[in-house]
Symmetry: C2
Subunit: 474 residues, 2 copies
């Protein structure tokens, strides 16, 4: 490995995004819209690489999403200042050492031109532009310290902003909640590559022996398009472990494989998709019965998702459909609505129906619930409901995930208190017959419109016969 | 994407490494050897995940290498205390939320048993065990802050340790400089998977259209073995950009492709390999001439690498062989030794011949030059020589890389001062005939013994005919 003697402090853009023209326009419009809501000047930092095991061996750099939203390009160690729709760029020109190790690279002036900055300065000039500015803290601690020093005040955590920083966060949320055409274009690309990755995963199942091999086949598609995984992929035959990213299990023919894998474009826009398929290429009868229930919940949510609908109601609808289905197959007893009132569905569907999607896979989650929850609304205290990440009416231009699931989580189903509470609501003997259904989730990315929602990931089948065909066909 | 409501704070080991028995013994021996050099008690933190774009979306966790060396397993948010060969473990048992999101996971007691800890405590007990301990700062800032708070003193940067922390670093360096059988076993696995990755990269070249596709093919092999890239892969047709990790260039038939890609095992041990191959499957005459020169430098270094030999002398030997070769083809003029005295080789070979390899791809580089440079030795001020990362006599059990290269770096060759200095030493017209040789590097991982060195990556060919055959064969 050859690597620079000093840490690399920018990504060098020697290619221009194919949609530079429209990107530049979109960026300018976003800055203009911010100016309509924000009088104070704003500084946004892109952040810097984080060290992995030593300073020169860094994790792949990811620029702050708030920076990306207004500046467009994944530039390392760059700051922008926004005021009244005007943008100023602060970055250092490449040093001779940079040119040696990183080759010919963009100069400050070229970057300024590309992203539409009205003026450009070296970083040391930042101090004289920092008076009275609002900001959002970035994720890396070294840059956060710089932010605090430059502004000469404590930077509160991003999920608990105060004063003008909170005002800025609210303004950014109001912009980023719905997506413009440039953003949707990027998300369509991420969705298309993600669909191809899932297809590759299904095809790889014919010969793969381990979860790791399926993961490799899927991420390989993402990397081959010069995208990155938007989050740590979940690829597992133990879908009941909700955050399972170890890939160490062998595949066995009776297993279901759950793959939650999404691509992120070079400019930072995410997709987020889950499919669950049978390792053998054929669902068992029990697997298929539960799969159909999860799919019914998925389908009804997408059907109902449109402008004005409360996302919370979609969650409740999914819970009700799941409860009704579980009554039908004899696992639950009672009326679906009553079961949901009793939270009985959370025994099998403990998480939320989905979340916002955009530059972040849980969009703007760095700001806590400021984006996800309409002002005045707060997380429920009830198990299951408390994990709902979005509680707003849907609006055209929002992109949300719809991702119902069924899991047999030992920590839930073997909990003595729950077994007592739901003693009469669950037919435990009947449930035991579904032991080969450990975890199923079906997740798509849905663009809200005034009318029918558009499923960005619709090219990937959800129906069990189609899934079986994709896994089995050569 | 489903992810935990709180950040994940450990990796759950539901499988036991296949060599657990010998690993436990090796860990115990390492701790015993540390005790022979260190009277003071030692606390070593594993560190915690770093946030990518929001707190719940983290980079893949990488435990501190110093922690891994003594504790063996990649445990998140765990601390060990070492004193007189005895190890105590500090970690929290999984919470109910952990069990919900992460499934059945190892308890503190089970981990203690697995890594051979004599006692185990929850993290809150750490305070009462922190008196008079030495430590090494980890890479993530949040944990560094915890270290400082717990020890109630400023933690100096790892590359500038003082007092007992420096004493600890020196003791750890003396251990980690040479590898035990368990370490070498891990590095053999990393090397084998890396060889397979390079083979896949060569094969993918037949159909690939972009650098990104080659990178995907190579990293896919690493992921499919449930390993990770040990560093940001370099896969490029512009090998003259030494730190090129953007993968955006198309492949053209006259190009050479340079791939610097290495795997890291689950327990953290690295490989680091570079090969350069023709996209077309055939080196041009000019490419082959230069390739043979780099290969001659590579081969002579490996031939001479053995116990007692100064690594610096290998670097000089490589420079001399390269200079002689460049004289032979008419690019340089003069005697090889004199050219090296004049640093003329640095026009084309600006970096060092290699570095230590172990748990880190540049092993122990977090400690600055403490590991790489024998006490009393310091980096040269001379261009080229100043990038040499290792300046010690070789000893049995060391693993080093040997990685000579030839590059036409515009920042070097177009520099007016250098063109003046080397006006008579370089035949610039002749050099222009080699325009299709932008960058070549050949890198292997070499285990030093008393006699012949063992090339851990020897299964991957270096000779141009063999490379051509691997790229071309179906």
């Amino acid at each position: 490995m050859q690597s620079p003697p000093l840490s690399c402090d920018r990504v060098f853009l020697s290619t221009v995004p194919s949609n530079e023209q429209s990107l530049a326009q979109a960026l300018q419009q976003r800055r203009q819209r911010l100016a309509e809501q924000m009088d104070a000047p704003v500084l946004l930092w892109s952040g810097r690489s984080s060290a992995r095991n030593f300073p020169a061996n860094t994790y792949p750099f990811r620029a702050s999403s708030h920076f990306l939203y207004f500046a467009g390009l994944p530039l390392d160690n760059v700051v922008i200042r926004l005021e009244a729709g005007r943008m100023e760029l602060f970055m250092d020109d490449p040093t001779p050492s940079d040119r040696l190790w990183h080759g010919a690279s963009f100069t400050r002036d070229r970057v300024a031109e590309q992203i539409g900055a009205a003026a450009a300065y070296p970083l040391y000039r930042l101090k004289s532009f920092a008076e009275g500015v609002a900001t959002i803290p970035v994720q890396d601690a070294a840059t956060r310290l710089q932010q605090s020093q430059l502004l000469n005040r404590m930077i509160t955590p991003a999920n608990a902003l105060q004063g003008m920083d909170q005002e800025l966060a609210r303004a950014i949320v109001s912009l980023r909640l719905t997506h413009d055409a440039a953003a949707i274009g990027e998300m369509r690309q991420a969705a298309a590559v993600t669909v191809a990755a899932h297809r590759a995963g299904m095809q790889a199942t014919r010969t793969a022996k381990t979860e790791a091999q399926i993961r490799a086949a899927m991420e390989s598609v993402i990397l081959s398009h010069n995208m990155t995984p938007a989050y740590s992929s979940i690829v597992t035959v133990h879908g009941e472990v909700l955050h399972n990213d170890r890939y160490h299990n062998p595949l066995q023919s009776g297993d279901l494989l759950l793959a939650d894998v999404g691509a992120e474009t070079e400019l930072g826009w995410a997709a987020d998709v889950t499919r669950t398929w049978p390792v053998s290429g054929q669902f068992s009868s029990t697997q298929r019965q539960i799969y159909e229930i999860v799919l019914a919940a998925h389908d009804v949510c997408i059907e109902k998702a449109r402008s004005g609908v409360e996302y919370y109601d979609l969650h409740q609808m999914a819970a009700t459909v799941m409860a009704a289905g579980l009554v039908d197959v004899g696992i639950l007893r009672g009326r679906a609505e009553e079961l949901v009132e009793q939270d009985a569905h959370t025994l099998f569907f403990p998480h939320g129906i989905g979340h916002l999607l955009g530059l972040d896979v849980h969009d703007m989650e760095d700001l806590g619930d400021l984006a996800g929850y309409e002002p005045g609304r707060h997380r429920s205290d009830r198990f299951g409901w408390c994990y709902l990440r979005l509680h707003r009416p849907l609006r055209p231009g929002m992109v949300v995930t719809i991702e119902p699931g069924f899991y047999q989580v030992p920590a839930i189903l073997e909990d003595p208190d729950r077994r007592e509470t739901y003693r009469d609501w669950v037919n435990w003997e009947r449930l035991a017959e579904f032991a080969d259904v450990r975890g199923i989730r079906i997740e798509d990315d849905v663009l809200i419109t005034e009318a029918e929602p558009e499923v960005l990931t619709a090219a990937l089948p959800t129906h069990p016969e189609a899934i079986e065909a994709w896994v089995s066909e050569i």
